[in-house]
């Protein structure tokens, strides 16, 4: 079964995503997760995924990821399962000075 997911990015990350803010991703596996999505995207846009998660696979502290509007940290993090036509939104949190 192919699960289609849309990954939406902040404009500041477009330059490491081929100049795009929206990526359409098709995943050929049952019950794909946010982690699976990032693994797949990393194959095409490694600089992008490096900015979203650490080398051990954790979402970076000031990166928020919402799956269909819900913060994945309040669900199962990168193990959050994505449904058909899910929209995954990446937003930088408030940080810095």
């Amino acid at each position: 079964m192919t699960v289609r997911v849309t990954l939406e990015l902040p404009s500041v990350l477009a330059d490491v995503a081929g100049g795009r803010r929206t990526l359409a991703v098709e995943m050929d596996r049952p019950d794909p997760t946010v982690g699976d999505l990032l693994d797949l995207v990393a194959g095409v846009h490694p600089h992008l995924v490096r900015r979203l998660r650490t080398e051990s696979g954790q979402l970076r502290r000031h990166v928020n990821v919402y799956a269909d509007g819900a913060d994945v940290r309040g669900a199962n993090g990168t193990a959050t399962v994505l449904g058909q036509d899910a929209v995954v939104l990446v937003l930088p949190s408030v940080a810095g000075g």
Partner: protein, 358 residues
């Protein structure tokens, strides 16, 4: 050329006479660039910057065209292997290896770990022997984080490397990294109850003499020390200093070179002594220090110089440069005798490196 790493990016300064400078930047905007290196062993020189964006994490950037374009390894240059169960928080030091190994570059990171590159700083591998050291669980973070901030490869013996970390202290390998031993005898740890400890010191910076590789100078968290035996033992080197706390330390190269320090009043009072920008110079290997601050502000100076923000070039006479947390860079083109302000209103300066480029 001056490379100035700041809290919000890298700035490059260019000058043909070291008096008049033109500035460009920020490169890597919004990344705290705590480590920068100008590798003049290759032609053209390679610039390396270790930055950490508050949102997007750490990265190493390299440029072979004087900063016009930058490369970043797709998967990241410096990463812990999966079984290390750690993530790189920040890159604190990028240090080219000896002349005999033109592709060797070292990196010190937070959490305290050493990485080595064999491809000129594009990709690095963890030095497992230090990461697996039985002392590592005892190394604790200082105020700036638990970082390995100093790497000193021996200029003529590639098997010998010294590192320093806060906290943890100085460690040395003499067998190309097969083993690492603490090298802190004589260096105090005033924040610990014991009078003497083998390791655990909060060493802020160590610099090697350019002529005698066994002569080293160390700015400790309370105390300045010198070693004449490659770090096997350390002796106080504080005569003439107005205070013994501080971070910045450097040495101008050549037989007539000198060590330079920027003392701060105390651990609990981290300001220049008396509100004065005081640089101190030693021309005798740290036996005595004298004021070398002509041209720097005499009063109202309440900013500090961080551990890698005091730097030199290889000209004759040598240039000496300092960057401040208030975004100023000052320079001396006569070996530290007289100082001029080179730029102001930058973000907090974290590190400075200088080089002569053709």
């Amino acid at each position: 050329m001056l490379a100035v790493g700041t809290k919000k990016g890298l700035f490059l300064g260019w000058s043909s006479d070291r008096d008049s400078w033109e500035w460009e930047g920020p490169h890597h905007s919004m990344a705290a660039v705590a480590a920068v290196a100008i590798d003049t062993r290759r032609s053209p020189a390679r610039l390396m910057a270790g930055g950490r964006n508050e949102h997007w994490g750490p990265a190493v950037f390299t440029s072979d065209d004087r900063g016009r374009t930058w490369a970043e390894e797709p998967g990241g240059s410096i990463s812990f292997p999966a079984d290390a169960d750690a993530d790189v928080e920040q890159i604190w030091q990028l240090q080219p290896g000896p002349e005999s190994r033109p592709d060797e570059v070292w990196a010190g990171v937070e959490p305290s770990a050493l990485f080595r590159s064999e491809d000129g700083g594009r990709t690095f591998a963890l030095v497992r022997s230090l990461w697996d050291h039985p002392h590592r669980p005892d190394w604790q973070p200082g105020a700036g984080g638990q970082c390995l901030h100093t790497v000193l490869p021996h200029p003529s013996d590639p098997a010998r490397v010294m590192v320093a970390m806060s906290t943890g202290g100085v460690y040395v390998t003499e067998d190309a990294g097969a083993s690492w031993n603490p090298s802190n005898r004589g260096v105090g740890a005033p924040f610990l109850p014991e009078a003497e400890v083998e390791y655990g010191q909060c060493v802020h910076k160590v610099v090697r003499d350019s002529e005698d590789p066994d002569l080293l100078m160390l700015q400790n968290h309370g105390g300045v020390f010198r070693s004449e035996d490659g770090g096997k033992s350390w002796q106080e080197a504080q005569e003439g200093l107005p205070a013994i706390f501080g971070f910045g330390l450097t040495r101008t190269p050549g037989p007539d070179g000198a060590f330079f320090l920027f003392p701060l009043s105390a651990d609990m009072n981290r300001f220049p002594v008396g509100g004065r920008a005081g640089v101190y110079r030693s021309v005798d290997g740290g036996r005595a220090w004298s004021d070398s601050s002509t041209g720097l502000p005499e009063s109202g100076f309440h900013t500090i110089v961080l551990r890698d923000a005091l730097a030199t070039d290889a000209a004759d006479p040598a240039g000496v440069y300092l960057g401040t947390r208030s975004g100023e860079v000052w320079g001396s083109s006569d070996g530290g005798t007289r100082w001029n302000q080179l730029v102001s209103h930058l973000p907090d300066v974290l590190c400075v490196r200088a080089a002569l480029l053709p």
